[in-house]
């Protein structure tokens, strides 16, 4: 026997929840080890200790071990490292000294939230189940939606010390083999000391310097199932209520869970609205600054006179005024994120007052700037996945416009498009199918137009991979 009870005891001694129990049977000693906080003590008593104690002849051979304990899942442990791995994962270990034999069995009891309503991607008419922090729960939510024999779930332990369990999901034959191989290789190559969430994996899969998410994430199992069927891969990390998907394309940011549960024509209209809102939130502030500071001859006269009058008395240049209002808004948004929900509502009222009436009254901003900031705020809320990228690029656009007028505005926009065009998600072009395909049909008619679900639900071929 290579697993010594004394060795395990010396390594784990000092942990208050480490339990060692000796069971004496006909002069033979069986030692039971488990971590109390992640194991089910009642289960161990009823299905392991009790049957062992009542075994009349004792356990005299390795074959009898299986008959003596009532565990559904158990297996042999060959060395101390393996025993420790099982113990720390929540599996109790039994050492039969006489037989020089050690086994682990499944008696895990991990605390987790129940399956709750999705907060981040709430759906009005579709499924609202969302992942929680327990990996097995998350996988079960996926499993119950797809009785597919080709679904593969590969387990990986990430983090040299944390040994966090993660799974790579894909449908064999549907997901491109080179994509699966690439992701698998990147997961195996991760050399983090610890992995606490999905973002660790996302950064390993897509280390690009960009504000746009080139790895998708969702907390809805139905969304993951759809993406798996489309031929993508997914990675779920234990302890994170989000699943990663790859490849992830820009136009996915404009899609919402309800898109597949409501009228497709209306969904198409909504997607156009979302796309319009991205453009407005990205470009409107810069366009406003460019027009009002360099090219006011392009503004209709009646409006330009009103703008001039509303700005009179504001002590700052227009660009400072706009950036200041942006700062107020971002402060308000960040505070709203950090505060509990109940206080957050009060904060939003205060924020609205400051951003709206008080800033104008105090002479810090003109009414037109408040309107522009307000429109920016509303449109940036429409696409929450793009919020961080939009807020930074909008400020960039403002600065370019203030420095160079409309020339700078256009240049800023061209740089943004060039940046988006250069991005890749697991080596696939981020703007797919734009620039890589002649028609949106290549993406199952599911880009701006939401096609019939009979077409959307078919796997499609990703092209343009490096």
């Amino acid at each position: 026997m290579t697993v010594q009870a004394s060795e395990l005891s010396s390594i784990l001694s000092g942990c208050f929840d480490f339990i060692k129990r000796d069971i004496v049977m006909n002069d033979a000693v069986i030692t039971l080890f488990y971590i109390e906080t992640i194991c089910d003590s009642t289960y161990i008593s009823q299905y392991i200790i009790e049957p062992l104690s009542q075994a009349s002849g004792g356990v005299t051979s390795r074959e009898e071990v299986g008959k003596a304990i009532y565990a559904a899942k158990f297996g042999e442990v060959r060395d101390a490292d393996e025993a420790l791995e099982h113990l720390l994962a929540g599996d109790p270990v039994l050492i039969f000294e006489q037989l020089q034999y050690a086994v682990y069995f499944d008696a895990r009891k991990l605390e987790s939230r129940p399956v709750e309503k999705s907060q981040f991607e709430a759906s009005l008419v579709g499924s609202n189940e969302s992942f929680n922090e327990l990996l097995v729960n998350n996988v079960s939510l996926i499993r119950k939606r797809m009785a597919t024999q080709t679904l593969k779930i590969e387990s990986h332990n990430l983090g040299k010390q944390s040994k966090t369990q993660a799974v790579l999901l894909y449908i064999e034959g549907t997901a491109p083999e080179d994509l699966v191989a690439t992701v698998r290789q990147k997961l195996e190559a991760m050399d983090n000391e610890f992995v606490l969430g999905a973002q660790y994996v996302a950064e390993a899969l897509s280390p690009g310097k960009t504000l746009f998410d080139t790895i998708g994430y969702t907390e809805k199992p139905d969304a993951i199932v759809a993406k798996l069927f489309e031929g993508r891969i997914s990675v779920i990390v234990n302890g994170t209520p989000f699943a990663l998907t790859a490849p992830c394309f820009f136009f996915e940011n404009l899609q919402s869970p309800d898109d597949y549960a409501t009228n497709r024509l209306f969904v198409t209209l909504l997607r156009c609205v979302r796309f319009g809102s991205v453009l407005v939130s990205l470009l409107l502030p810069g366009f406003y600054v460019a027009l009002t500071t360099h090219h006011f001859s392009l503004i209709p006269s009646a409006f330009v006179f009103k703008l001039a009058v509303s700005r009179s008395g504001v002590p700052f240049p227009t660009v400072v005024e706009v950036v200041l209002m942006f700062l107020f808004f971002e402060l308000s948004r960040e505070a709203g994120r950090r505060l509990p929900h109940q206080i957050g509502q009060a904060l939003s009222i205060v924020g609205a007052l400051i951003l709206g009436d008080a800033a104008v009254g105090a002479g810090l901003a003109s009414q037109a700037t408040v309107v522009v900031t307000g429109i920016y705020a509303i449109t940036s809320f429409i696409n929450p996945r793009l919020t961080s990228a939009i807020s930074v690029w909008a400020v960039f656009s403002i600065i370019m416009s203030a420095c160079f007028g409309l020339h700078g505005f256009y240049l800023g926009f061209i740089l943004l498009v060039a940046h988006l065009g250069s991005l890749r998600s697991c080596d696939y072009p981020y703007l797919f199918p734009l620039g890589t395909e002649k028609s949106f049909r290549a993406a199952n008619l599911d880009v701006l137009v939401r096609g019939p679900l009979s077409k959307v639900s078919k796997p499609f071929l990703y092209r343009g991979r490096k």
Binding site: T292, T293, H294, H295, F296, S297, S301, A302, V304, F305, L307, A308, V309, S310, R311, S312, G313, V314, P317, T318, V319, V360, G361, G363, A402, C403, F404, G405, H407, G408, L411
Partner: protein
């Protein structure tokens, strides 16, 4: 490392090109630090000085937000050299001046008779000047331009722009003419432009109110004549300008009263035929009208309607022919005949074709309906 350095240098160069090449002519300016010129009146004094009246909008700073408002200031600059006018204007204002939102340029009759070219080039060539600026001739007192009787409308420039631009299409008493169209027409065909005349009421009760008062005819840069409001409508008929509004004729049942017909849509066809040195110009005018007002009593039966149509057609035809003959006799082509002739017959292009033009005008009036019938039992 070298790749990153190259990228940084490229981006820096790209950004540096912009201010040097593109943005140098239009720098950063905040709207509240600009004096907007909204209208300009150009006059000529007895010493042959050009007198510019610049109406400007300035935004006023105030400590309370409700008090933010615009202020209208009219600056008067008299100069021999029009190029100095805008330079000198900037010495009077608290902020840099822009002509980008100048809506209207008016010329006094005296200045227009002397020739618009005395000052027109600064609007034609000035970098910030807009070609959409409307032109007109002003026959009122200059004091009324400085202090107009329009309390509700603070900016005279915007008010005049609407009068010259929008109202011209519904009253038939004016034409819309901007700098671009003026410059084009000045070198095409007859070289004659028609420009609305803006007058100011001298009536005790309505003193200072603007009104359209016919058309000024400008040949190249010089004002050569004037058409009254009544004649303007016939002029517009002959030129196929948009004509609408009411036109009056005799009441068939009462010769002392009138009937007004509202013009709805007009069809205009013209044909030129040049033979043996004579240009025959055929114009077919079909007017669709509604009865809009009957003075006195009139039974709207078929017979009376036919009479109305006939009398209206005869009246329009007679007045149009009289107007044509008058300017033909003067030898001045105000009807764009030369332009049409040059387009159709580019080879035998001859000057002053109006002298050998015969007008064949056919007018048909259709009364389609009447707004008064709605209330008839």
């Amino acid at each position: 490392m070298i790749k990153a350095l190259r990228r940084i240098v490229l981006v820096t160069l790209m950004l540096a090109v912009l201010p040097v090449l593109l943005a140098s002519c239009l720098g950063y300016r905040d709207l509240d630090h600009i004096a907007f010129v909204t209208s300009i009146l150009i006059d000529q004094d007895e010493e042959e000085n050009l007198v510019f009246y610049f109406e400007t909008l300035n935004s006023i700073r105030n400590s309370s937000k409700e008090a933010n408002q615009e202020e209208r200031i009219v600056y008067k600059i008299a100069t021999q050299n029009p190029g100095d006018a805008i330079n000198r204007l900037e010495t009077h204002t608290s902020a840099p001046v822009t002509l980008a939102h100048n809506k209207v340029i008016l010329f006094t009759e005296r200045f227009a008779a002397g020739g618009l070219d005395q000052a027109f080039d600064i609007f034609d060539r000035w970098q910030e000047s807009s070609t959409r600026t409307l032109l007109g001739v002003y026959v009122g007192e200059t004091e009324d331009f400085i202090k107009p009787n329009h309390e509700e409308e603070v900016m005279t420039g915007l008010y005049l722009y609407d009068m010259l631009g929008n109202k011209a299409s519904v009253t038939s008493y004016g034409v819309k003419l901007n700098i671009k169209e003026f410059m084009n027409q000045k070198i095409i065909g007859d070289h004659v432009n028609s420009m609305s005349i803006m007058n100011v009421s001298k009536d005790k009760d309505t003193k200072g109110q603007y009104f359209l008062d016919g058309l000024a005819l400008i040949k190249e840069y010089r004002m050569v004549g004037r058409l009254s409001s009544e004649k303007s409508i016939y002029f517009n008929f002959l030129l196929d300008n948009e004509v609408s509004g009411n036109i009056n004729t005799q009441n068939p049942e009462d010769r002392t009263k009138t009937v007004s017909l509202l013009l709805q849509n007009n069809r205009y066809k013209s044909r030129l035929d040049y033979k043996d040195g004579i240009l025959k110009m055929e114009i077919i005018l079909k007017l669709n009208t509604d009865v809009s007002l009957i003075q006195g009593k009139l039974k709207l039966n078929e017979e009376n309607i036919a009479k109305l149509e006939a009398s209206m057609a005869a009246k329009i035809r007679a007045d149009c022919l009289a107007l044509f003959q008058r300017w033909k006799d003067k030898g001045t082509d105000i009807f764009d005949i030369q332009e049409k002739f040059d387009r159709k017959y580019p080879k035998p292009a001859g000057r002053n074709i109006i002298g050998s033009t015969e007008l064949d005008l056919k007018v048909t009036v259709d009364i389609n309906g009447t707004t008064t019938l709605r209330d008839v039992e």
